[in-house]
C-alpha cells in the first residue's frame, strides 16, 4: 500500500488527537495515527500533542526521534526499508543497497526527486533467516538480491 497523501492539516490532526487523547499512554497511538494520516509527523503537531496530553514539547520530540519509524518529513510515495543488520550484511545486503542507490539516484535516508521512493536503512526486520531482507510499503520480502530489488521497484513504478 503506497503512503497516504501528505499535506499537513492542523484541523485533521486535532481531530485525530481528540479521538485518542483519552487512552492511557496516548502518545504512541497519536503519533501512529498522525503518521498514518499524513505519512509523517509535522513539527506543527508537536505543540498540539503536548497540550493535549499535558507533556512537554521536548518529550514529544524525544519520542518521535526515539522511534526510527516516525518521520518528521514527508516520505516518497513508496518507502523501501533495507536491512543493514549483521545477518543481512553477511548475506550481501551492501551490494543490493548500492545497486538500489545507483538505480534511484539517492542515498539511504533520501527521497527521489520525483518523490516516488524513499529508501531507508533499518537494523533488523526479524527476517534474518531470509537475509538480505527489505520491507516495501510495510510488506517484508526475503532473499532480496539486486535483481529482486529491481523487480520490486519495477512493480511499484508500473503501479504508479
Amino acid at each position: 500500500m503506497p503512503q497516504k497523501g501528505s499535506t499537513w492539516n492542523a484541523d485533521r490532526a486535532i481531530l485525530r488527537i481528540r479521538e485518542l487523547e483519552h487512552l492511557p499512554g496516548a502518545l504512541l497511538p497519536i503519533l501512529h495515527a498522525l503518521q498514518e494520516e499524513f505519512g509523517y509527523i509535522d513539527k506543527a503537531a508537536i505543540p498540539l500533542i503536548a497540550d493535549a496530553l499535558n507533556i512537554s514539547h521536548a518529550e514529544v520530540h524525544g519520542v518521535i526521534s526515539f522511534y526510527r519509524d516516525f518521520r518528521d518529513t514527508p516520505s516518497g510515495r513508496h518507502v523501501l526499508k533495507m536491512c543493514r543488520a549483521e545477518s543481512c550484511q553477511s548475506m550481501g545486503c551492501d551490494a543490493t543497497i548500492q545497486h538500489v542507490e545507483g538505480r534511484l539516484g539517492v542515498k539511504l535516508g533520501e527521497t527521489t526527486a520525483d518523490a516516488s521512493f524513499t529508501v531507508e536503512a533499518v537494523y533488523c526486520l526479524g527476517l534474518c533467516a531470509l537475509s538480505p531482507a527489505v520491507m516495501l510499503d510495510g510488506k517484508p520480502y526475503g532473499r532480496v538480491s539486486s535483481e529482486i530489488a529491481d523487480f520490486l521497484i519495477d512493480g511499484m513504478q508500473r503501479q504508479k
Binding site: I55, S56, H57, A58, E59, V60, H61, G62, S65, F66
Partner: protein, 755 residues
C-alpha cells in the same frame, strides 16, 4: 534514635542502622563511604542510567545499583572489592566512549565529577577503536549552552527541570549511542532560565552563557553571601576574580535553598559591573550634576541638611530607606533620622505587611511563623495572593518539593490563574483585588461575595478544616485588617496554623524589622511606647520625639506642598516606585540627597548623589521574608564607591559637628550588629551560627499589648509584582537577564520596572 522499624545492614563489614526505605547509596554516605554516582541525585526520581554505583551484595547473582537498592535487614554490601573496581572502570570506559576528554578547555575542568572519577578509576586506555562521535556545541539561550559530546546522559538536567522546576523544558532525543538532550524549542530553550540544569550537570555538557571560557575554577575566590534580589534570601556563592564577580551558584548546597537559585540569583550579578555604575559623588552646580570628591560631597550634604534643620525644623526633613540595604545600614539610617535630626518622617517601599502580621500574632509571633525549611515540611499550605513562581521563586520551589517529596497539599486563593495552580488541590479564583474580601468571608464576617466564589471558598474551607497545622503564605494583597482576619481564620483551623508574609526584596523584612517606618521603632516597638523611646534614646544619645512622622507618600506630597524641605533617600527610587511626577512633586525641595548605584529617576533630581556599594560589595546582615537572618559578605569591589554603612556613619560625624545628634561610633557592620542584638527585640541571635553561614530566625513580638492597630493606609503597602526577570530598578541593569527573550521586550533603563 533507633526506631523499631529501622533496618540494620552491613556495608564494608560495618553495621549501619537506617530508617526503612533508605537507599543503600544513602546508607553508605551516612557512614562516610562514597559510592560514585552520576545519575543519582537526592530529591529527584531514580534513574539508574549511569551504572557507576554498582556494588556487591551477598547472595545477589550480579552487581546491584546502590542508587536504587533499598536497604534491607541483614543485607551485606561491599563497595570496595576487586569486582566493583573492575565494574566502575568498565562503566567509565563506556561513559568516555564518545567523550572528547577536552578537560583543558572545559569550564567544568577542576570541579567535574567525571574528571574526578576518571582520575580515581579511569584507565589510560580505551578499548573502543571507533572514532568518537562529534557534535557541534549548541547555544540554547544566552544563559544555557549544550555540548553534546561531553554529555554522559545522566538525565539529571531533564529531571530537575521537570520535577524540580515544573518547567519541563528538556527532554531526550534519539536513542542508544545517538541519544542527546533536547530543548523544548527545537533548537532553543523557552523556559524560566534558572540555570538549575547547568549546575546540576555533573560534567561540562551544560555551561553557563555568562561564565563559559572566562576563567578556571582554581583561579577564583569563593564568597558565600545572600542573593541581592527577592525577599527569599537564597544563599549564593560568588566566584570572584580580581574583585570582579564572574559567577554565582550554590554548588556547595549551603543554606536553606540547597541547590536552588532562580535566574536572578544565578545570572543577576552583572549589575555590579554595569557601565552606568556611579563611581564618583555628584553635586549639582548651576543646575548640573557634576563630579565632586567624597569629602566635598559629604561636607556639603551635611552642611546643607543642618541649614534646612535650622531654618525649617526637624520635621521639614524626611528619610526614605531601602529594601536592599543591610540591617545595619537601615538601623543607622533610622538612628540618623530619629536621633540626629529628630524626626519620624521615615519610611521605605513597604512590600508586605509584616507589622500587622506580628501584631496579629502577638506573643506567639515567633512560633507562629515558618522558616523556608519549615515551609517544605508543611503538610498543607494555603497560598493567598502573590505569584511565587515569579515573585518568590524559592517559596514556589519549597512548595513544589513538599508536594513531590512529602505529598503535601496546596490550596490557592488568587485573582490570577498562577502557575502553582497546577499543583493545587483547590483553587479559588477571586476577582482582581478580591483576596482580602475572601479572607474576611473565611473569618466569618458577613462579607457578600459572588455566589460562585463563596461556593468554592466553602469547599476550600471544609478541606482546610480536615487538615492539621496549615501553613498560610500570603502576598501584599493582604494588609492591615485583612491580616487580622486571616489570623482569626487561622485560629479556627485544627492544630497550629503558621504564617509567612511575602515581600519583594532582599531586605524588605529587615527594613521593617529595623524600624524604617514612621510609627514603629526597631523591633516593632511602637513610637507611642515611652519605654521603648527611652531605651533607644539612651542607646542613640538623644531624646526621641513621639510626634507622628510622614510615610513615603506623605513625604512626597509634603515635598510638593513645600512643607518638606529636604529628603534623604538611601538606595530607593521613590519617583519611580510611587509614580510621582518628578518635576512637580520634588521641585520644591531645598535639598535632595540620594545614595544609589545608578542615576535613577530619583537620583537625577538630586542635589547630591553618593555612589553606593552594591549588596555584593559589603558585609552585613539581611533578613529574609520569613525572618531568617543571614550574613552577607563582600565579594566584589568597585573603585570609588562606599557602602551605605560607611556613608551614613561618616555623615553622622559631620552632622554632630553641626550640632545635630551624636556621632555614630560603630565602626564596622559587626559592631552595629552587636548593638542591634542588644537593642532590637527578636535579634538576640547566635553570632556563632551566623558566622558559620547559617540562617537564624528572629523572634519578634509586638509589644503593643493588644492595642496594635491595623491601620496601614491604602496604598502604603504594595508589591512591584516583579517577574522572574525583573528586580525593581536594579533589574534594569542586569544585562544578562534582560538579554533573555523570556524577559520580554527590551526596556531601557528609562522605561524599566519599579524600585
Amino acid at each position: 534514635m533507633a526506631d523499631s522499624k529501622d533496618v540494620t545492614l552491613k556495608i564494608d563489614d560495618r553495621d549501619v542502622t537506617v530508617p526503612p526505605g533508605t537507599l543503600v547509596i544513602e546508607a553508605a554516605r551516612r557512614m562516610g563511604i562514597e559510592v560514585p554516582s552520576f545519575c543519582y541525585y537526592p530529591g529527584l526520581s531514580l534513574q539508574a542510567a549511569c551504572r557507576m554505583c554498582l556494588v556487591e551484595v551477598e547472595r545477589a547473582p550480579k552487581l546491584q545499583t546502590a542508587c536504587t537498592l533499598v536497604a534491607m535487614p541483614g543485607m551485606v554490601v561491599r563497595t570496595n572489592t576487586e569486582q566493583v573496581h573492575q565494574a566502575r572502570k568498565a562503566m567509565l570506559e563506556f561513559l568516555l566512549a564518545n567523550h572528547p576528554l577536552d578537560c583543558p578547555v572545559c569550564d567544568k575542568g577542576g570541579e567535574c565529577e567525571l574528571q574526578d572519577m576518571a582520575f580515581t578509576y579511569g584507565a589510560d586506555k580505551s578499548r573502543f577503536a571507533e572514532e568518537k562521535r562529534h557534535r557541534p556545541e549548541r547555544k540554547w539561550s544566552e544563559a544555557v549552552y549544550y555540548d553534546a559530546p561531553r554529555c554522559i546522559l545522566c538525565f539529571r538536567c531533564v529531571r530537575v527541570c521537570d520535577e524540580g522546576m515544573d518547567v519541563k523544558a528538556l527532554g531526550v532525543g534519539q536513542r542508544g549511542s545517538q541519544s542527546v538532550i533536547i530543548p523544548n524549542g527545537e533548537d532553543h530553550l523557552d523556559c524560566e532560565e534558572c540555570g538549575m540544569c547547568i549546575d546540576i550537570c555533573p560534567v561540562g555538557a551544560l555551561t553557563s552563557g555568562t561564565y563559559r571560557y572566562k576563567t578556571r575554577p582554581w583561579e577564583m575566590k569563593y564568597v558565600s553571601t545572600v542573593c541581592a534580589h527577592c525577599s527569599n534570601g537564597c544563599k549564593t556563592t560568588l566566584s570572584v576574580r580580581n574583585n570582579e564577580i564572574l559567577r554565582a551558584n550554590n554548588r556547595d548546597l549551603s543554606g536553606f535553598n540547597k541547590e536552588f537559585l532562580c535566574v536572578k540569583g544565578r545570572f543577576g550579578f552583572d549589575f555590579t559591573s554595569h557601565p552606568e555604575r556611579l563611581k564618583l559623588p555628584l553635586v549639582r552646580r548651576n543646575g548640573h550634576l557634576e563630579p565632586a570628591s567624597w569629602e566635598d560631597a559629604i561636607a556639603e550634604a551635611s552642611r546643607r541638611l543642618a541649614e534646612v534643620h535650622k531654618a525649617s525644623g526637624a520635621d521639614s526633613i524626611g528619610f526614605i530607606g531601602s529594601n536592599r540595604t543591610t540591617n545595619e545600614e537601615n538601623y543607622l539610617l533610622g538612628r540618623i533620622a530619629r536621633a540626629s535630626i529628630g524626626t519620624n518622617n521615615l519610611d521605605h517601599h513597604r512590600t508586605a505587611d509584616y507589622p500587622s502580621l506580628i501584631a496579629a500574632l502577638g506573643e506567639k509571633a515567633a512560633a507562629a511563623t515558618v522558616t523556608m525549611t519549615q515551609l517544605y515540611e508543611a503538610d498543607a499550605v494555603l497560598l493567598i495572593g502573590d505569584d511565587p513562581t515569579q515573585q518568590n521563586p524559592l517559596v514556589a520551589w519549597q512548595i513544589r518539593a513538599a508536594i513531590r517529596h512529602r505529598g503535601s497539599r496546596l490550596y490557592v486563593i488568587n485573582a490570577k490563574s498562577i502557575k502553582l495552580r497546577r499543583k493545587a488541590r483547590e483553587f479559588v479564583e477571586v476577582s482582581q483585588g478580591g483576596e482580602a474580601a475572601a479572607v474576611s468571608w473565611l473569618s466569618g464576617s458577613d462579607e457578600t461575595l459572588d455566589p460562585g466564589v463563596a461556593e468554592s471558598l466553602s469547599a476550600l474551607k471544609s478541606a482546610l478544616e480536615k487538615e492539621n497545622n496549615v501553613v498560610v503564605v500570603f502576598g501584599a494583597e493582604l494588609t492591615g485588617a485583612a491580616v487580622r482576619d486571616l489570623v482569626k481564620f487561622g485560629a479556627s483551623l485544627p492544630g497550629q496554623t503558621r504564617y509567612m508574609a511575602l515581600g519583594d526584596y532582599a531586605n524588605s523584612r529587615g527594613a521593617s524589622d529595623m524600624g524604617l517606618l514612621p510609627h514603629l521603632l526597631p523591633g516593632y516597638a511602637p513610637l507611642a511606647d515611652v519605654k521603648a523611646r527611652e531605651k533607644f534614646g539612651k542607646v542613640w544619645g538623644a531624646k526621641l520625639t513621639n510626634k507622628p512622622g510622614l510615610d513615603a507618600r506623605g513625604m512626597l506630597a509634603a515635598a510638593t506642598s513645600g512643607k518638606l524641605r529636604a529628603l534623604y533617600v538611601v538606595g530607593a527610587n521613590p519617583v519611580k516606585t510611587f509614580g510621582v511626577n518628578a518635576n512637580e512633586r520634588l521641585g520644591k525641595l531645598d535639598l535632595l540627597i540620594v545614595h544609589d548605584l545608578f542615576l535613577t529617576e530619583t537620583a537625577k533630581l538630586a542635589d547630591i548623589v553618593l555612589p553606593a556599594a552594591a549588596a555584593y560589595e559589603k558585609d552585613g546582615s539581611v533578613t529574609n521574608t520569613a525572618g531568617e537572618v543571614q550574613l552577607v559578605r563582600k565579594g566584589g569591589d568597585v573603585m570609588g564607591t562606599r557602602s551605605d554603612f560607611d556613608i551614613l556613619r561618616i555623615f553622622s560625624h559631620q552632622l554632630a559637628e553641626h550640632g545635630l545628634g551624636q556621632a555614630i561610633r560603630l565602626r564596622t557592620p559587626e559592631a552595629a550588629f552587636d548593638e542591634i542584638r542588644q537593642s532590637v527585640a527578636g535579634y538576640d541571635l547566635s553570632m556563632a551560627a551566623l558566622l558559620l553561614g547559617e540562617a537564624e530566625r528572629t523572634s519578634p513580638i509586638s509589644t503593643a499589648g493588644g492595642q496594635a492597630k491595623f491601620d496601614a493606609p491604602v496604598g502604603a503597602i504594595f508589591s512591584a509584582h516583579d517577574t522572574l526577570f525583573a528586580s525593581g530598578s536594579l533589574g534594569r541593569y542586569c544585562t544578562t537577564i534582560l538579554s533573555l527573550p523570556e524577559a520580554g521586550p527590551k526596556t531601557t533603563p528609562e522605561a524599566g520596572a519599579h524600585s
